[in-house]
């Protein structure tokens, strides 16, 4: 190394001092100073840093973060020159995995260590592996919404924080099952509890609390959420996330591949939870009839989950399966806990008896409800003047097979009716039964869900959610090229939808399957898409960065390339290629 003289006469070689802070970004962090040259490899630098620190510790997870460039120096064989690092670089020698708090789809909080150095896509995959969620490509992280200062006065109840920071997963290998859960959860009572939290549905939220939660009053409100998605191709550190920050884990792409109740308890449960909250907070609208279905399922799911009946279904009763299932359920429910004897269940025909008030609307009838002794057996409903006369001839007997059961319930009004529409060749005859407080049971019976196992019920819930017309649409405010007003772009798993912002009408739909290519002009934040038959669409993104829109489109296209044959193997490069873009930094 030939010596050189500076103007001041100092001899210098090409070496210079490099200061490296130890720890996370913190102005007061301790630091070490090394003598390096432009030719020094990063690996050598790391070694020197560790030597200087003179502390025994496992440093294997540590790496150097270059603050100004917002970049990790992970290529250990690269030289400082190649990275372009000079003496003024602010470097931090810190762990690549740091704790964060995840707000899960079920709204519970969980602490774990996430990679701050890998692209988010990989970090999420690792998180999902830890949580035992397959197909991590469907999930991503969102920044937590900023809390309004005002509300700090109201002390929120201390919430339970689950902790998985100490759990280490052997890399690459799918966790084996142990005691009915992935082995890494079975280490301690805490982790076990955590697994239960993950894999079992939470009880329904307190209605009062629910009422206070904000819900979107317009399409515009629904666009807010989507401005918060993190970028899949960059790491957490690059996106300004700090250790201890809270992030939301959510299913981002509404295209759920190979959902299997048997192998996916956590995935299924979290998806169910996301669906449930989506409906409760009215992010996705549904009709009253549909809400009844959801309510019934939620009730049923909660019941099973509370009672610990997590296992698989008891199976339907073969002897009764040709009965009208709804009535059957109603019957079982009303009967309450009947004998638990398997044999009894199989062989006895359940019979339901009670005093009920009955009303049969007829023309010119002034009579109201009349109390009767009602016996319901198999598919026949018979009613008598009184209980004493029960063995004798009933006043009337109705075969309820194929009849419609319509619960007519108004809790506030203390009204609990069951309307029966009994079919006959001439039409339907209506009968009203007035009951006690049976709301949930009616709901459950009505929706025919009583026989479902926990996972079946969750799956049914998810399916019903997926069947809603507004399901799985992510909204962004955009301005179409050539248009003078803001509009909404809806992004679904198979199409883009142009929506009138004011009215909410769908104006136009473009399917991904007809898409030729799309481009992003990062400078003017514009996305341009070309469809078959030379249809061109361009818009600029207003409510979210165009990178989010770009990633949504690329992500859905990526997801549509998945094939059953490949199983869970992921073509990460393809994903990053489709979603990464060339944004200039």
């Amino acid at each position: 190394m030939a010596g050189m003289k500076t103007a001041t006469g100092d001899y210098i070689d090409s070496s210079w001092e490099l200061r490296v802070f130890v720890g996370e970004e913190d102005p007061e962090a301790e630091s070490v100073t090394l003598r390096v040259t432009g030719e020094s490899h990063i690996g050598g630098v790391l070694l020197k840093v560790v030597e200087e620190i003179k502390r025994k510790q496992d440093w294997s997870d540590h790496a150097i973060w270059w603050e100004q460039k917002r970049q990790w120096l992970l290529q250990t064989h690269w030289t400082l020159d190649k990275y372009g690092i000079l003496a003024d670089a602010r470097l931090f020698f810190g762990p690549q995995h740091r704790p964060i708090i995840l707000r899960l789809p079920n709204r519970r909080a969980l602490r774990l260590r996430a990679s701050f150095s890998q692209p988010l896509f990989q970090a999420v995959a690792a998180i999902c592996r830890l949580l035992s969620i397959r197909h991590p490509e469907e999930l991503s992280l969102l920044r937590a919404p900023e809390k309004k200062e005002k509300k700090k006065k109201e002390k929120e109840p201390e919430e339970e924080l689950y902790d998985l920071t100490k759990v280490v997963l052997a890399g690459g290998v799918a966790p084996a099952l142990f005691r009915g859960m992935p082995a890494h959860f079975s280490d301690s009572a805490q982790t076990e509890a955590c697994y239960h939290m993950l894999s079992r549905p939470q009880p329904p939220p307190d209605p009062l609390l629910l009422q206070r939660l904000p819900r979107p009053s317009s399409l515009l409100d629904k666009t807010q959420l989507h401005s918060r998605w993190l970028d899949s191709s960059r790491c957490l550190m690059q996106q300004g996330i700090k250790a201890g920050d809270m992030l939301w884990l959510r299913f981002k792409y509404y295209s759920f591949f190979d959902l299997d109740p048997k192998t996916d308890p956590v995935r299924l449960t979290q998806l169910y939870e996301q669906a449930r909250w989506d409906l409760l907070l009215e992010e996705t609208d549904c009709t009253e009839e549909e809400m009844m279905v959801f309510a019934a399922l939620q009730y049923h799911i909660n019941k099973l989950s509370q009672s610990g009946e997590v296992g698989e279904p008891t199976g339907t009763d073969p002897g009764l399966d040709d009965l009208d299932a709804a009535l059957n359920n109603l019957e079982v429910k009303l009967e309450g806990s009947a004998s638990t004897d398997v044999l009894d269940n199989l062989t006895t025909i359940p019979e339901l008896k009670d005093h009920l008030r009955i009303f049969r609307p007829r023309k010119l009838t002034l009579k109201g409800y009349r109390q009767h002794w009602v016996v319901f057996k198999e598919t026949t409903l018979s009613y008598y003047k009184s209980q004493d006369e029960a063995p004798g001839d009933p006043i009337q007997q109705l075969n309820l097979k194929g009849c419609e059961v319509v619960p007519d319930v108004n809790v506030a009004g203390q009204k609990f009716y069951i309307k029966l529409l009994v079919p006959s060749p001439e039409g339907m005859s209506e009968i009203y039964l007035r009951c006690q407080d049976l709301t949930p049971r009616i709901l459950e019976a009505h929706q025919n869900v009583a026989q479902l196992s926990l996972s079946e019920a969750q799956l049914r819930f998810i399916q019903a959610w997926q069947s809603l017309p507004d399901f799985g649409i992510s909204y962004v405010v955009v301005r179409f090229k050539g248009s003078r007003k803001d509009e909404i772009l809806g992004i679904a798993n198979n199409r883009l939808i142009r929506i009138d912002l004011a009215v909410g009408d769908m104006v136009k739909t473009w399917r991904f399957s007809n898409m030729r290519q799309w481009n992003v002009n990062w400078d003017i934040r514009q996305v341009a898409i070309e469809f078959d038959e030379h249809i061109n669409v361009a818009f600029s993104c207003l409510s979210a960065s165009c990178r989010i829109v770009h990633e949504y489109i690329g992500g859905y296209i990526f997801l549509s390339t998945r094939e059953r044959a490949r199983g869970e193997e992921l073509d990460e490069d393809l994903f990053l290629q489709l979603t990464g873009g060339h944004e200039a930094f």
Binding site: F256, T287, P318, V342, D393, Q397, I462, Q466, S467, P469
Partner: protein, 663 residues
């Protein structure tokens, strides 16, 4: 679970066995020689008795023993199956052991396999001598013995399984059959025997065999309500008997066999239903072309996901107002959960929508000539109604579209919402079937020949033929003139049988004759068909309740169905193997007979059908008459339960009585 369970257990098995046997004896005794059944016993009790109860009462211990012996054979076979299933499901090893024990006939039972019939005979004979202590009784005890399996639960489970099985068997024993007259598109008709288990798909396959049509996916069974002027396509997965059971006795409804391109239109051109862009202006480019690959991916997307996608469909339709002839225009939307409309002054948002109808309890029909009949604005109408409704009613909903395309979209959309993935599965089966057919024709083998290659007909054959023949004779014996005539027909046909080619047209006709001679009119649905189930109850009840149809389904009449057995028993007796599908027809007449004979009280007057139905009530409206002799059983309670229950409880009583004697 002490003795009581075992008791129940046993009783059930007994019962079930007896059911089978009884039905056999009632319906089958003339069965071909191969039938091992101890002829003696059967003749003794089955023939002359007017009703089951009576015959039961008359059973002597000996007979009972015979019943049981038979039962044993039957059950053991069934159980063997369960055991196997359980083994497969890899239960622990104790399990099979414990199971075997309870098997009534023990080791012997296991050996049965295919030769059930034969085995049962011998066993039967062996057992006969010592009436009381026959296998059955001893066996039930075993459950615990061999190894005192502490696994009570398992034992219970095993028991439960057995009972399930028993229940299944019971159910099978009730197989109901109808003779269905199907109108072909050349105005001819074909009569088919359709049993309770057959789906429209099976019936179509059967018809394919008979008609040598090209088997393409458009062929369908088509239901026409002449009076209501509505019609619809049977979905391939629908149970035909169940659908027809909703028809009234005097119905003029018809079943057709024809091609309807609407049937699977969505799978051929999904874009017409799924890409109907909402921008109404663009919607006008009708029938856009789409390449096969895109169609496939569109279908995959719509039908193969976690949940299917219902086409987005909305627009103004005319709704016929309840009970009036006026039509009101409303904005309707189709959702997976039903049809909704936008109430006056409201918006299209989900929360504001009012539910017009949900699909669970209704079928969708095309309305025919509604313009004329109901003053509809156009003739493009569809109708939603509960399948049981057969007359005009305010509960039938009529909707009217502006054009044919819209109509087809709505009808298809509703079918997709109602049936979901099943529709796609049906289509794929139909495709497979069509493919198979074309392959066959290419080979030149099938469609032509009477030689009836090994091919497809299989199902049809099995169900139809054998039983039919079996039943015929007996029925004839027990009933009156008409029936006898029928029987004669049947027998003749039967005799000829071996000689007949597969497609012998003569046979079916012959059968029809007896029927037509029956007084009442019902063209399609003979009452006798309906009563195919031996069960009497339906009759008695039907009239009383004023609901003619219902009785059939819920009250499971103890059917005599030899059919079941055929399914289960390996290959039917040798003779039958040859029996061609066409043979099916013979049965009808027999049925009429059957229905009559086993019936409890008054042997149904020969010319049973409709007219009678209306009046018979004398007997007692809802309750089947209590068998005279049987006073010990205070008329089985379930007034409603009716015939079957009575019969069952009688069986039980008989058994109990017997058991009592023994012990």
């Amino acid at each position: 679970m002490g003795e009581s369970n075992e008791d129940i257990d046993q009783m059930f098995s007994n019962l079930l066995g007896e059911m089978d046997l009884l039905t056999q004896s009632l319906g089958v005794d003339t069965l071909p020689p191969p039938d091992p059944k101890p002829p003696r016993a059967e003749f003794n009790y089955s023939v002359g008795f007017k009703d089951l109860n009576e015959s039961l009462n008359a059973l002597e211990d000996q007979d009972l023993d015979a019943l049981m012996a038979d039962l044993v054979a039957d059950i053991s076979e069934a159980e063997q199956r369960t055991i196997q299933a359980q083994k497969e499901s890899s239960q622990n090893q104790h399990h099979p052991a414990s199971l075997e024990v309870p098997d009534f006939s023990g080791a012997a039972a296991l050996g049965y396999g295919a030769s059930v019939a034969a085995v049962s005979v011998s066993q039967y004979e062996d057992d006969l001598p010592p009436p009381p202590a026959d296998p059955m009784l001893d066996v039930p005890l075993p459950p615990p013995p061999p190894e005192p399996l502490s696994q009570e639960e398992e034992a219970a489970q095993a028991k439960a399984d057995k009972i399930k099985l028993a229940l299944e068997k019971l159910k099978e024993a009730k197989v109901k059959k109808l003779v269905v007259k199907v109108h072909m598109n050349d105005n001819s008709t074909k009569s088919l025997m359709v049993d309770e288990k057959q789906l429209a798909r099976d019936v179509l396959d059967n018809l394919f065999e008979k008609t040598h049509c090209d088997c393409n996916v458009d062929w369908c069974l088509y239901e026409i309500y002449t009076e209501l002027q509505i019609e619809r396509i049977f979905e391939d997965h629908e149970n035909v008997v169940e659908v027809l059971s909703d028809w009234t006795r005097d119905t003029e409804n018809k079943v057709l066999f024809l091609e309807k391109e609407e049937k699977y239109a969505v799978f051929k051109n999904p874009q017409n239903f799924y890409l109907n862009n909402k921008g109404k202006k663009e919607g006008k480019e009708t029938n856009e072309k789409m390449n096969a690959k895109n169609k496939e991916s569109l279908l995959e997307e719509s039908f193969c996901g976690t949940s299917i996608i219902v086409p987005e469909l909305e627009g103004a339709l005319y709704l016929k107002e309840d009970g009036k002839k006026s039509w009101k225009r409303r904005y309707f939307l189709l959702r997976a959960s039903g049809i909704y409309y936008v109430p006056k002054g409201k918006t299209k948002t989900s929360r504001d929508l009012a539910c017009f109808i949900q699909f669970e309890n209704v079928n969708i029909y095309y309305g025919i000539q509604c313009k004329m009949k109901y003053k509809a604005p156009t003739d493009y109408c569809f109708v939603l109604k509960h399948p049981q409704i057969q007359k005009e009613s305010q509960y039938i909903k009529y909707l009217c579209c502006d054009d044919a395309r819209t109509l087809n979209q709505w009808v298809m959309g509703i079918r997709i919402a109602k049936y979901g993935k099943t529709l796609y599965d049906n289509y794929q089966r139909a495709m497979a079937r069509a493919g198979l057919a074309s392959r066959w024709t290419n080979l030149g083998t099938v469609s032509t020949g009477p030689p009836a290659p090994p091919a497809p007909p299989a199902t049809g054959l099995k169900t139809g033929t054998t039983q039919a023949n079996g039943q015929i004779p007996q029925a004839a014996h027990s009933v009156s003139a008409v029936l006898e005539e029928a029987q004669r027909h049947a027998e003749t046909t039967k005799d000829k049988k071996p000689a007949l080619g597969n497609h012998e047209p003569g046979a079916p006709r012959a059968h029809q004759l007896p029927k037509s001679s029956l007084p009442p009119p019902p063209p399609l649905r003979r009452s006798s068909d309906i009563c195919g189930s031996p069960k009497t109850a339906p009759r008695a009840k039907g009239p009383g309740g004023g609901f003619p149809a219902p009785p059939d389904d819920s009250l499971p009449p103890p059917p005599p169905p030899p059919p079941l057995e055929d399914d289960q028993l390996p290959p039917p007796p040798p003779d039958f193997n040859d029996a061609p599908p066409d043979f099916v027809p013979p049965p009808p007449p027999s049925f009429a007979g059957d229905a009559g004979s086993p019936l409890p009280p008054p042997p149904p007057p020969p010319p049973a059908p409709a007219p009678e139905v209306a009046k018979p009530p004398p007997v007692g409206v809802k309750r089947p008459p209590v068998p005279p002799k049987r006073k010990e059983n205070p008329a089985p309670p379930g007034g409603g339960g009716s015939g079957e229950q009575d019969f069952m409880s009688d069986l039980m009583k008989a058994l109990q009585k017997k058991r009592g004697n023994i012990s």
